[in-house]
Symmetry: C2
Subunit: 198 residues, 2 copies
């Protein structure tokens, strides 16, 4: 099977993946990131397949605000939000304007800081993933970029009935046409699989 | 079973139930109302239960822009969008600022123009419905009003992967807390049932 590029995103009903005013204490800013991801942490059994799928990739791509916070270079001591042994267990390509040495973590995760733009990052991720698939891990603007570029094969959306009211809305500026393929409801969220229409 | 107040709404992914610039030629304004309701008209068999449910009520409430168009009194000759024999087959209470005689249509539908506000309209609809349920038929701002007032027991949302970009967004100004209860995917839309949290 051809290598696929897949994306996962938890969104509030009003379309926000994250709130304003992100900080190192609040990775989701003013939005209730905990409530948005409750399905992952408080209803593990019923969402086992979806949780497993989120990290089942040969390589990942993320925006710099998913790795860290703010404009400018990130403190070289910052190693991301995930502790010493992040769940990715594969190369993670972080889009940034600031070069930085590769960060090798426990368990097989490595963070590679890519200053050459999203096309190069995707190429590197595709190569690194080999026969496995590539994940666009987020955040919202990174996902939107790859959707608009026609480079995402599947979008796994987890739509949770929260209203954030402000933040980064996936739909604003999205030009990709989507087709829903399946939906499954669990206690805290509704999983909907979308495929971009080519 | 106690009488329930239920609402049905077809929404684009970005949360719009209708577009800007509504006119008598374009009931959904700039939004593609046909695509939004394709599940109802072009995939009838697979959505039979949902279609039946939309009109299975003892009384309906709708905002004036769901019955007609624009500010000011509506042309007395205007009888709504549904032809001589509308699908409601029950009393429909239209919220308006302009009194107008009741309009009796074929098949059991009658349009009652209520100038005393949404509370009175709901009371009248509840009485008229008898042992049957009451539907908030739309549009977006009418639904939002009743949701925020805590008067809706169930919200049947049909979420279709369209991006309208502008129009009336259900989520803007919604203060009701919702809980998703079930989800079902058909070819053109994803039906999600929400219940407001009391």
């Amino acid at each position: 099977m051809t290598q696929q590029v897949e994306a996962h995103m938890s969104l509030s009903l009003d379309g926000f993946g994250t709130g304003l005013n992100q900080s190192f204490d609040k990775p989701f800013g003013d939005a209730d990131g905990e409530a948005l991801h409750r399905w992952m942490f408080e209803d593990v059994e019923n969402n086992a397949a979806e949780i497993e799928r989120v990290i089942d990739y040969g390589a990942f791509i993320m925006g710099r605000n998913m790795f860290g916070v703010g404009e400018g270079p990130i403190d070289p001591g910052w190693q991301g939000w995930w502790g010493a042994n992040p769940p990715y267990r594969a190369p993670v390509y972080v889009l940034t304007h600031y070069a930085r040495p590769t960060l090798t973590m426990e368990g097989g995760t490595s963070f590679h800081f890519i200053t050459e733009g999203p096309e190069i990052a995707l190429e590197l991720a595709r190569q690194a993933a080999g026969s496995r698939n590539v994940a666009i891990a987020g955040g919202v603007s990174t996902l939107r970029h790859y959707l608009n570029a026609g480079q995402v094969d599947r979008l796994y959306l987890s739509l949770t009935p929260l209203l954030f009211g402000s933040g980064e809305r996936l739909w604003d500026g999205l030009s990709a046409e989507l087709k829903a393929v399946s939906a499954r409801h669990t206690k805290y969220t509704t999983h909907i699989l979308y495929e971009p229409v080519r």
